[in-house]
């Protein structure tokens, strides 16, 4: 595992170590973690992977992203089903932590129920002692490769347009009004055969790459489709829309309400505001009516914060309608 001081995976990790725990934990806020492991799959077949994390997490298996979690809940869940051959498979996990503590767990199910993968015997840690060197080499090759491709493409595009301009000049009729530049209407030298062949080859290669990209993207999108019905009940915005349906009848249609929560993620306020508009939602608790959203309602009921509010209604899912006590 490698941990990073910022919620990004750039640069040198702040720490690298082996872990045998059944969950990955980040105690430091605004940090990130990257974990590698080799999963020894005992039997060929279909496996159901179940990832849970707080805050954001990714799961890559054999280089392909299988689960990507970006939800705003304190517990984000994702499931992927994959067909695997018996043998070793590269597992890479990313965890991005915002405020508070972050964690990640991973379960695998091959028809016998979920069992934790992390900390289990099926997972072999990878020796990361040389990983940074290898990653630097790969990054370097990527830069050189991209730079060379960009330069080569620019030259070929230029040649292609020269060829096309010359072709149109040689094909256009003498009396045809043309809006191309005066230089081409006077005629240019015909391009050599080899340039024509290079540019044609370039365009063929580009079209083939384009089709491959479209096919790859199309396939990725189709595979990402949730199994639920539209508009995807687990989409964070849909989750908040449904969750706040209960409280809406008790709120005024317009004006301002306050908002308090034990969850520090500012995105939660934005989601609530989006769901409740045109009602304005303010983190300032000066408004008389206040919406409370708590991951652990029991903690809120015991906190001194409750001295400032009267609970008007408890919606039983961490959602409260509160009234500010006027002192």
């Amino acid at each position: 595992m490698e941990s990073f001081a910022l919620p990004k995976l750039n640069g040198k990790p702040s720490a690298a170590f082996f872990s045998r725990s059944d969950r990955l934990i980040l105690t430091k806020p605004d940090s990130a973690l990257r974990a590698y492991g080799l999963w020894m799959v005992p039997v060929t077949g279909r496996y159901r992977l179940h990832l849970e994390c707080d805050d954001f997490g990714n799961l890559f298996l054999d280089g392909k992203e299988r689960i990507r979690l970006r939800g705003v809940n304190a517990r984000n869940t994702g499931i992927a089903e994959v067909d695997l051959r018996a043998g070793y498979h590269l597992l890479v996990l990313f965890l991005f932590n915002g405020p508070g503590q972050g964690w990640l767990t991973l379960y695998a199910d091959h028809g016998k129920g979920d069992h934790p993968l992390l900390g289990g015997e099926a997972l072999t840690p990878m020796d990361l002692s040389q990983i940074n060197t290898w990653l630097r080499v790969v990054e370097g090759l990527k830069t050189v490769g991209w730079g060379g491709m960009l330069l080569g493409s620019a030259i070929l595009i230029l040649l292609a347009f020269i060829h096309a301009g010359a072709s149109s000049a040689s094909e256009s009729l003498p009396n045809e009004p043309s809006l191309s530049s005066p230089m081409t209407s006077e005629g240019t030298k015909k391009p050599r055969g080899i340039i024509k062949k290079i540019t044609l080859s370039f365009w063929v290669v580009l079209m083939v790459l384009g089709f491959l990209f479209h096919y790859n993207l199309f396939q990725k999108l189709v595979l990402s489709f949730p199994t639920q019905s539209f508009p995807w009940p687990t989409h964070p915005l849909t989750v908040f829309e449904h969750r706040l349906q209960e409280i809406k009848p008790y709120l005024p249609p317009r004006g301002t309400v306050g908002f308090i929560s034990d969850q520090k993620d500012p995105a939660i306020l934005f989601h609530i505001q989006y769901a409740l508009s045109p009602l304005l939602v303010s983190v300032n608790t000066e408004p008389v009516l206040v919406i409370g959203l708590f991951h652990d309602p029991a903690v809120f009921r015991q906190s001194p914060l409750l001295n400032r509010f009267t609970i008007l209604r408890d919606f039983q899912n961490g959602l409260f309608l509160l009234q500010r006590r006027i002192q």
Binding site: T143, P177, S180, H214, L217, F225, P231, Y274, S277, P278
Partner: protein, 371 residues
Amino acid sequence: MISLLAAYLIPWLIGSALTGFLFPVCTSASVLLLRSALALGVGFGMTSSVLFLWLLGVGEVTAGFFLLESMLGFLSLLALLFQKHRLPADPPSWSPPVSNRTMEKKFRVGFFLFLLSGSAIMVLVSLLSPHGDWDAWAIWNNRARFLFRSGPDWKASFSPLLNWSHPDYPLLLPLSIARIWFYLGRESLWVPAVTAMLFSVSVTVLLVSSLSLLRNKTQGYWGGIILLITPSFLTHGVSQFADLPLAFFFLAVLVVLHCSENLQSCRSRLLILSGLLAGFSAWTKNEGLLFVVVFLLIRSLTLFSRTKGKESWKSMIFTLAGLLPVLALVFAFKFYLAPPNDLLSLLRTDRVLTHLTDPGRYFLVLKYFFT
């Protein structure tokens, strides 16, 4: 269904009539395609401006607004029919340069195949993110919801409590979405997605038709193919951000300016159209305001360096004639409704100067640009 049709048809009619008047050339399919692509952006710009003025004057959307738009749509239809039947004495002709027919056919097939698969991909991306990406729901669709749901209290959309959603951003996109919701009588997740797709397709058609006219058809199809295989265009184009409409207006201004250089007989009208499109870019996003400043600066430099005296001033006046009405709308919004920009309000002159003169920051940008 009829209300949805009217909601999209009226802007297109208004845009087509105005574009037809300001771009009175129709001698080839490429020109007609170019005008159609421009019509969508002009139409959305005009109808969002009308809705804004209506809200400022009347205070909420009433039956009178729909009557007004229907009248504008009807007048535009009449104008289109009138333009079609009344031929000018000496119609400006514009035939695109001829390219190799065989190559053109091959690339045309390739382009349409990419357009088909690209459209399918855009539909899938829209289905997967029905609310759009972060900025789409946090800024643009959020504003549209406020405008639609607030009724007479629509000015609450610009409350400082919503600073995180940039309430100072101009309103072309939110008003266009809210306008269609008003026609439907309810909100629909499809409206922002369809609007985003229409702008994406319009950018593609605009690029292909303009390259076909200004170079040749083969190059037009090449340009379209390169755009359709650009990864971020397909995925970001339907993210429901305002970036695609902004890119549309930027491209449209450059295309129309280029056309004005080559069609002297209707140059003045095309300059008005270029000014109008530049104004709509400022009505779409704050970056459009910067574009307007740069556009006017470069335009002045090129005009006054190439031609002197009356001709240059005349060209600038025609450009400003198209730009100023929309710019007046933008400034009215900025000065009377929008709160200060949350990003700019944190800036101080000394801090800006320090950042501008720090070479390390430029190096950092270059480093991340190439890695």
